[in-house]
Symmetry: C2
Subunit: 382 residues, 2 copies
């Protein structure tokens, strides 16, 4: 297998982008990524989209975006793993390049979420329709149950949940592409509208339009493009039961753990080697549990990790320097690629006001549903 | 890259299967394929589904089927390229095994189409929503335009269109898993209900529930399983404009041509080397155009090819021995894998009453939308 590098990244602003259609979003992100790499010809496209059918009545997204990016005839495929669709698109590109099938691949993600009347219904298609969604168990409810169980079992506090949101809004205030650019307080989170106890609206990631893209190629070719290449050193994927109630312990996200173990093993790295990470904070409790599964905190101590400032921009292991899903926004299919874009910019030293000090190794973790699928990647400065 | 072989295939019966949910369908096909191969452990799953969101409000199909097949934690991913989703799932498995990422991969396709009120609306999401579907150009209309243009340009006749349906129903009458097991006549096709001139209901493939799966592994491992392995010798994919009106010539399916050229080149084969093919006859005109693009007939002579009986079971190049999409049924995400299952059974000599005489090389061609994506595979007896 060949080593693979990221040579370009690009994204739209994230937010309620009434003036953009799904295809407009993808084209803007793709052209920015191709320009960032200094690449025109590509061999293949992968695009992650969670539910373009339910959001905007459009499937066949691979062919659509190839056409609108001006690359008709090039192989193009949409992949879907709910909110992890972007991370999986990255992985499929990686497999294709590493295996020698293609050289230059455009990997992207896109979601146009604000054109539907009921985004929560469309999103609930990522849970078990027959046994969860049909009975009204939407995602805020499912993650609220995880939060309650985590609080009960490990003593995680309401303020620790809120601390995730405060940190991520702080980071997002330094990201010009973020949906929400304002700093918030613990009090503001706790006093905001209740969604599903104990989660208020400021514990929840928003409904967002947006797209992100990356360009990858074999590491041996990567030197000839515009920007410093960033090597992909690990990839890992795992699944879990689709329904939350089928798991032995709902405070554990087994797919996250396994996807991370597999990526660490391939990379020859351990949690202590990681300088920063973008993780899937669809709800504040999600970031807490995920940081535990990734090995950044002991099991049950994820709340303490954020409360003590260890995941802040100037902490031991900065988490979600981009603002995360919470503040940057969560256009579900695009999120996994937006995470890659942030890590690449940080490792290049191009993250502007939110740049951390000289990072060498970064990690992305992107998941679907209540953690029924997870994909982890590890990146290193060459 | 490693050579790859198919070691197991399985499918449900195709039809209006009221007693099956989407997950039931996949599980039955998967267990049959695993049993056919004599395999229990798998490394990864790919599943093709066109629009499970619009059909049954369920996305996140990779994690769902991994769970219900009893393989939670195994990597699993849904891919979508409209009605070519199954063919693309096969290709992603092939890339993963050939590249050395996995050894044994379950590739499948599934669609549960009869639980929605408006399957035609869901299917129209494979066309250009903004410029075709929104204005009422559903697929029967788009293919009717292709048919009219082909008749005008090449003299293709109404009877030649009908001959495709008659042939495929004849083949389907020999396939116990087919949705429609009855033979029909040219007159019956012409006299059936008009859908979009010149296409009547018997020129159109039906709305179908069904699933199909295959198990693949490196050729070097393939000898130790239950059945005679069938080698995959070529794969090719291409895209075209999503909207029919953006093409220079609507009687040509450029993506089909390119996907075939790429597969022929990889396989070192030419059209004359192919002993039988399963092709995408979503409408009768589609089979005629596709046989031309695959090189089985000169451009414009596809109608004559079927009319002269050359694509019949005992013809020079039998096409759609399974009954094709027309008679076997077209559960859109499953179709590409069902094609593979038919070719594998024919090359093993297991096709029962519809078995052709000692075939050595078979081809599958599966497409999405009005031909905006196409995927071709070539298979050979080891």
């Amino acid at each position: 297998m060949r080593d693979v590098a990221v040579i370009g990244v690009g994204n739209t602003k994230f937010g309620e982008l009434w003036e953009y259609s799904l295809r407009d979003l993808f084209v803007e992100a793709a052209l920015k990524a191709l320009d960032d790499a200094g690449v025109d010809m590509i061999d293949s496209i992968y695009v992650g989209t969670m539910s373009s059918g339910m959001f905007v009545d459009q499937e066949h997204i691979g062919a659509l975006v190839a056409d609108y990016v001006g690359k008709k005839h090039v192989p193009a495929l949409r992949v879907e793993s709910a909110c992890a669709s972007g991370g999986f698109a990255f992985r499929q590109g990686l497999i294709e390049v590493a295996g020698g099938f293609s050289d230059i691949v455009l990997v992207g993600g896109v979601e146009k979420m604000t054109d539907t009347e009921d985004a929560t219904f469309a999103l609930s298609s990522a849970a078990d329709q027959d046994n969860e969604s049909y009975f009204g168990a939407t995602f805020p409810a499912l993650y609220a149950m995880i939060a309650r169980a985590h609080m009960h079992k490990y003593g995680t506090t309401r303020d620790q949940l809120a601390a995730v949101s405060v940190k991520n809004h702080n980071n997002g205030s330094l990201n010009p592409d973020a949906q929400f650019g304002r700093k918030i307080t613990i009090e503001a989170v706790k006093k905001s509208v209740m969604v599903a106890e104990p989660l208020t609206i400021l514990d929840c990631s928003p409904v967002t339009d947006g797209a992100a893209c990356a360009v990858i190629c074999p590491l041996e070719m990567a030197g000839k493009f515009k920007k410093k290449p960033i090597k992909v050193i690990g990839t890992g994927v795992a699944t879990d039961t689709i329904a939350l109630h089928s798991r032995e312990d709902i405070t554990t996200l087994k797919a996250v753990q396994l996807s991370a173990d597999r990526a660490y093993q391939m990379a020859g790295k351990k949690p202590g080697d990681i300088d920063l990470a973008e993780v899937h904070d669809c709800f504040t409790i999600a970031e807490i549990v995920v940081t535990e599964e990734l090995g950044f905190a002991e099991k049950g101590k994820g709340g303490l990790l954020v409360e003590e400032g260890k995941t802040a921009l100037d902490g031991e292991i900065p988490i979600n320097t981009s603002g995360g899903l919470k503040s940057k926004g969560h256009p579900v299919g695009a999120t996994g690629i937006a995470q890659v874009a942030e890590i690449v910019r940080q490792l290049r030293g191009e993250a502007g006001e939110r740049q951390i000090d000289n990072p060498k190794v970064g990690l992305t973790q992107n998941m679907g549903g209540s953690g029924a699928s997870s994909v982890t990647h590890i990146f290193e400065v060459v």
